[in-house]
């Protein structure tokens, strides 16, 4: 690789990472809109259950810890990327995938249980807002898992190329970002929801 294309790759990296960062900023506002809606509608339970009546707090704590750990394992994969250690990258991604899937599994089973009990998103404005906010985060996690699988498979087959390095760096940003959003879901929806 000559000098010219090294600089070219570097500027491409900074361009895509700035662009992706800006996308994350737009996503923050998407979530902000849902948070604002939740804050406005959280007491609009229309005679149905309020947050504290339906939250399974131990499970929520488990979700939080799982997602936090997955953010850490994702960081390990990124460190492996810096040292071009393919094994570390793949194991890191595998751990991230398993933890992310576990998070999603708990969330979806909670949703299924709530809907089964008649507390679905159609039951009250509060529940609509709850499902929309938590579900939007879950949807992002799902997209993240899809992206992760595609990246991991390509790295497994082709090794660590410049392009995959770029994309994996962006994925790292995305995954940490989802963790960050979850901290606020955890705090605003759940913890503040059970404060009397």
């Amino acid at each position: 690789m000559n000098n010219e294309s090294v600089t070219e790759n570097k500027s491409l990296l900074s361009r895509t990472s700035v662009g992706f960062w800006l996308y994350l900023m737009t996503d923050c506002l998407l979530f902000a809109t849902l948070f604002a809606t939740f804050a406005v509608l959280r007491d609009a339970t229309a005679g149905g259950p309020a947050g504290r009546d339906i939250y399974e707090m131990p499970l929520v704590l488990a979700e939080t810890l799982i997602l936090l750990t997955s953010s850490f394992t994702c960081g390990l994969a990124l460190i492996g990327l810096a040292t071009k250690n393919k094994r570390q990258v793949l194991y890191g991604l595998l751990a991230t995938f398993v933890l992310g899937a576990a998070f999603l599994f708990i969330e979806v089973s909670e949703f299924v249980k709530l809907i089964g009990e008649g507390h679905g998103p159609q039951a009250s404005a509060f529940l609509s807002a709850f499902f929309a906010l938590v579900g939007m985060h879950g949807l992002h996690v799902f997209v993240g898992l899809l992206w992760l699988s595609v990246l991991a498979l390509t790295i497994w087959r082709r090794g660590i190329t410049d392009k995959l390095t770029r994309q994996l760096t962006l994925f790292g940003l995305f995954w940490h970002f989802l963790d960050l959003i979850w901290i606020f879901v955890f705090t605003v929806v759940y913890l503040m929801g059970i404060v009397k």
Binding site: V18, L65, I183, V188, L191
Partner: protein, 112 residues
């Protein structure tokens, strides 16, 4: 790098657990909402620095600038919406659903 991730992870875990057990044991404390807000903000800072490496940025610091600008707009929208809607709810939401419909139907022509 590794060191940073471990520190960040440990701090985040600690902050999460502290917040959780504080709430579980003091559901009715009057200052609880504020405490939770502060803990969440602290964790935001921790993750921004230790996971998203916002402080490592070189060059024109576009990420930091856009983050702070976004945060400003986000606060305006969220705080503004809550303020406006609380005010409106207090004044207008004694209506029954039918009255609400009637009222909002006349409202629809009024905006730009």
């Amino acid at each position: 790098m590794m060191q940073k991730y471990i520190t960040g992870f440990a701090l985040s875990l600690a902050l999460t657990l502290v917040a959780y057990f504080l709430v579980i044991n003091n559901e009715t404390h009057p200052w609880m909402l504020v405490v939770l807000g502060v803990l969440a903000a602290t964790q935001l800072a921790v993750q921004l620095l230790y996971f998203l490496h916002l402080d490592d940025e070189v060059g024109p610091r576009l990420k930091q600038l856009s983050f702070w600008f976004m945060a400003l707009i986000l606060l305006i929208i969220v705080v503004g919406s809550i303020w406006i809607m609380n005010n409106l709810n207090e004044r207008m939401m004694h209506f029954s659903p039918t009255e609400k419909n009637q009222y909002m139907l006349t409202e629809y022509d009024k905006g730009f």
